[in-house]
Symmetry: C2
Subunit: 222 residues, 2 copies
């Protein structure tokens, strides 16, 4: 499998974690979104959708959209499951994941930032206010679901990481980059720290990737 990734992409971060948790090796191809490399002919020949992340199977099948890729990996490689076995649990995990993927994250992506910049002339302060607003909304919604819920365990659902944790850590990492303190969402903070203590999560973090710019790079935790 070929995995097309970009260090900063929150959706690439999700797939990296899933690949790590399932211990699946891939050939990683770095696509520099900051240099518009997703529009280059070379990438377009491989993935006409010109979007990240993408997973290309050995037979040429192109898989797109991070959650669809992860559900595919879950169906193909059921070991180290990322969804619980019972259907109500699965619904809860998917619902938590979708709060991030369908509500929070879409408002933070580069093409939205570009629209705010070019069409609406929002400058840095307003852009930051926009991002902080939606991170707050999302983490507050997650905290509401997680706190005092009998199904919440060491992780979002029970004591093993699931798709919900995979989505949540990406958003919590953005909060960190915006210098927001997670302590106002104590359950989110606890689970984020629990997850990031696992190598599968820590080594997938945007700031420790081979294509992370030197100036942004941090030492891997631990």
């Amino acid at each position: 499998m070929k995995f097309f990734s970009f260090w900063r992409s929150q959706a690439s971060f999700r797939v990296r974690i899933a690949l790590n948790l399932k211990n699946l090796p891939t050939e990683v191809i770095f696509v520099d979104l900051d240099a518009d490399a997703q529009h280059a002919d070379e990438f377009r020949r491989i993935n006409p959708q010109m979007a990240l992340p993408a997973l290309v199977e050995d037979d040429g099948t192109v898989l797109f959209q991070s959650l669809a890729i992860i559900e595919y990996l879950e169906e193909k490689y059921p070991d180290s499951p990322l969804l619980p076995a019972d259907i109500k649990g699965r619904a809860r995990v998917r619902g938590l994941a979708l709060i991030v993927a369908c509500e929070g994250h879409p408002l933070l992506v580069p093409r939205v930032r570009r629209y705010l910049d070019r069409e609406l002339n929002l400058r840095d302060e307003q852009q930051t206010a926009w991002r902080r607003h939606w991170v707050i909304e999302t983490l507050t919604a997650l905290e509401g679901h997680l706190a005092d819920n009998k199904d919440t365990g060491r992780f979002c659902h029970g004591d093993a990481p699931t798709l919900a944790d995979i989505c949540m850590v990406g958003h919590a990492a953005v909060a960190g980059m915006l210098e927001m303190d997670l302590k106002r969402w104590p359950t989110v903070k606890r689970i984020y720290e629990t997850a990031m203590a696992l190598p599968a999560f820590a080594s997938a973090h945007p700031l420790v990737q081979p294509d992370t710019p030197e100036a942004m790079r941090v030492r891997p935790p631990g």
Copy 2:
């Protein structure tokens, strides 16, 4: 099952179609988002998440997020499947659905419109430009995936409706409400018309619901 719905909500529209296709009766409870009814104590007692759509099982389990609800219905009631049987097909259908649910739709929801209005002072013309921009981006992405793809049939994937069609029609309906002509996306247009000719889709349309305001109401097609 109790289903909490609002006529205009694109996510409620999706769940209505899925319930129709699977022929599942529910008690429908209308929650008037325009009157902020989702924040009323009465609704909060039933669904503390105060978000639509929600499906409440007879044992009190609250299901949230439209795609998680539909995946749950798919697992519990596998007849009239909304996902294909093969895992690559399932990944494609989920990927198409997520283009709408994770990229297009989140930029059109009331809370975003409210932010654009109150925080950024965007007036009608700019608000409409914003909505049209994201509808164009989304339908163009879908058309790129659907046109000239061997897996596209009468519907987005093969000859029976799936989760991809359920998500696509909601977005195509928004284009209609914005008086945008679908003919620039010929495959989307063809599939939209094929889907809306089915009673399961037509009777779920926002403009023909029991809670649709009289002034907005249209005669059901056909």
